[in-house]
């Protein structure tokens, strides 16, 4: 095993006068004084958010405008701080997406409890819940910080879909090939 003792030599006479350190410290300070600044004028300037950032959790529509959540309640189950509350509901039989059968009647995420861990997005079997870029959530009351279904869809919007699994399912059913 390579073990290296850290070196600690006694100070030289010159170093004991404080002078070299003061000079060195001033040099460093001056260097940083003229260097480009490391800070940012925050609310006016905003940092770039990388892809895959875990900001506010939202619900999304697919490109055809169907709400993707089928209220399976897996995110509600996995959420470590229990911030999600879902009330499942039925899709009306005469709706074009009636074969999806279920959609959330109520979907609430308590932003005072949410810890932005991203487990809900990770477990979602429909890619319906996404953590998006917004990282500043504020409000004047506790009730205001519980995002309801409408607010969640407003925040989420529409995201591209690569699978369209329910459209495929419908096409298969109509083609007499349900399974």
């Amino acid at each position: 095993m390579a073990v290296i003792p850290v070196s600690r030599k006694p100070l030289t006479l010159l170093e004991r006068t404080y002078l070299p350190q003061i000079a060195g410290g001033l040099k460093t300070t001056l260097k940083h004084f003229f260097a480009p600044k490391d800070t940012m004028e925050y609310p006016e300037e905003r940092p770039a958010i990388p892809a895959g950032y875990r900001g506010v959790p939202t619900l999304v529509f697919d490109p055809h405008g169907r709400e993707k959540c089928v209220s399976c309640q897996l995110c509600e189950f996995v959420c470590p701080p229990k911030a999600i509350r879902i009330t499942p509901g039925e899709i009306a039989a005469d709706a074009p997406t009636a074969h999806v059968e279920k959609a959330p009647k109520e979907f609430e995420i308590d932003m005072l409890r949410c810890i932005y861990c991203g487990l809900c997005q990770e477990v979602c079997p429909e890619e319906a819940i996404w953590l998006q870029n917004v990282y500043t959530t504020s409000g004047y009351s506790r009730a205001e910080l519980v995002n309801n279904k409408q607010k969640l869809y407003e925040l989420g919007g529409t995201l591209p879909d690569t699978h369209f699994k329910w459209d495929k399912k419908k096409a298969a059913e109509e083609g007499g090939n349900a399974h």
Binding site: A2, V6, R8, G52, C117, L119, E122, E126
Partner: protein, 408 residues
């Protein structure tokens, strides 16, 4: 060193010739800038001299160990972020490896390399904060600004990798949350290159600084025997001259492949602990450089562990079998055999251990966390006695503890 006082006024002495003063009791903390969180020290003072020091803990107790018994193994990962919250990635890795040891699961090389990289980045980030805060404790303000500038660069990299700057929750049992993004390792490499000269500059502000040395040299000496007896780990133990580093002694996650040195101190005073941390950051950069140079391809999660790690997302969306598997994994938890396991990892603050008792299934029966900061704090009653109040600040800073972990 205790200072000898002489009292000029002989009339104030009592009959036995001793100068008698009343002991004063002083509560330092729980909100005190030098106690780095919510530690409270119940000090008994004789003038400026500490005659007794009682650390009072528990102000940040959240019952993490009990919480763990009520959730699946993966759900507990976000809670490990909040142990040593200055190095959440290192905690994530230690926890994941502990549970994987229980399942006797080997990680593929790529996953191991990613874990080594994030552990070492977490170490640099934690030591930078420890250094900056120590600088403030002993009156050197600018160190903090420079170390935080470097930490910000690391946080940007964490953000890109995990999606969060602070509470990373990056590991999963049997793998990771996701693979490294394209070009990320090159960015880490670039960080390492520019970091070493800056680190030297930061350290040069303190290492030969007489003011800093007056505050730290021969202050808070912990002997080798004491350090071992009190169960110290990490830089605090190595500062006392004991070359114990779990990355060398019990390598995990492929640490045996990397070349690095273990810095040890000679005296065990605050200055030695500071020097060890400075050198450790340089060694971490060495490990990072090697890990990136031979960064392996292949899988980043255990593909065979179908009852532990979730199937890929596009499979969940298209195949019924994977969909059911996903539901089972989330609701039942990663399936572990019955048994018990203890695993310790070398974290920035010392050896973070997880002791897990499993009765099978996806939820631990008991999960015990051996927090390095908690054990390191146990030496305070010994080391603070006989020092001045201002030295207590210096000692606390040099022990570099995190209350999130001590109280857990």
């Amino acid at each position: 060193m205790p200072t000898e006082y002489t009292f000029p006024d002989t009339a104030a002495k009592n009959a036995t010739g001793e100068f008698e003063t009343e002991k004063m009791s002083l509560s330092m903390g729980p909100s005190h800038p030098s106690t780095h969180g919510v530690l409270r020290l119940q000090l008994e003072l004789d003038g400026e001299m500490v005659t007794k020091c009682d650390p009072v803990l528990g102000y940040l107790h959240r019952g993490d160990e009990k919480i763990a018994e009520n959730m699946t193994y993966n759900q507990f990962v976000p809670y490990t972020d909040r142990l040593d919250y200055l190095a959440p990635l290192a905690n994530n890795v230690a926890y994941a490896i502990a549970v994987e040891r229980l399942a006797k699961l080997e990680m593929p090389p790529r996953c191991q390399a990613i874990r080594v990289i994030i552990c070492e980045m977490a170490r640099i980030s934690a030591h930078l904060l420890g250094l900056g805060a120590y600088g403030i404790d002993v009156g050197a303000w600018s160190i903090f600004l420079y170390t935080f500038t470097e930490r910000e660069k690391l946080y940007k990299l964490f953000e890109e990798l995990t999606g969060a700057r602070f509470t990373t929750s990056y590991t999963r049992i049997g793998g990771l949350q996701r693979d490294v993004p394209e070009g990320w390792t090159a960015k880490v490499d670039a960080f390492c290159d520019q970091f070493l000269p800056i680190l030297d500059e930061i350290l040069s502000l303190l290492t030969r600084n007489k003011i800093f040395m007056d505050r730290t040299v021969d202050v808070g000496i912990i002997s080798k025997a004491d350090a071992i007896a009190y169960g110290l780990t990490g830089p605090n133990l190595r500062g006392s001259g004991v070359p114990l580093d779990l990355r060398k002694d019990k390598p995990y996650s492929g640490y045996e492949q990397y070349e690095f040195d273990v810095p040890v101190g000679a005296k065990g005073d605050c200055y030695d602990r500071y020097l060890c941390r400075g050198e450790e950051m340089k060694q971490s950069v060495r490990i990072l450089k090697q890990a990136i140079a031979k960064f392996p391809g292949g899988d980043w999660y255990a593909k065979d562990a179908k009852k532990i790690f979730a199937p890929p997302k596009d499979k969940i969306l298209t195949s019924m079998e994977e969909l059911i598997q996903n539901f089972m994994l989330v609701t039942e938890g990663p399936q572990m055999p019955a048994g018990e396991v203890y695993f310790e990892a070398e974290n920035p603050k010392g050896a973070l251990g997880f002791f897990i008792v499993s009765k099978g299934g996806g939820v631990p029966y008991r999960l015990k966390i051996r927090a390095p900061s908690f054990c390191n704090l146990s030496i305070l009653p010994k080391v603070c006695v006989g020092s001045l109040v201002s030295d207590v600040v210096s000692i606390l800073g040099s022990l570099d503890f995190v209350m999130g972990e001590a109280d857990r």
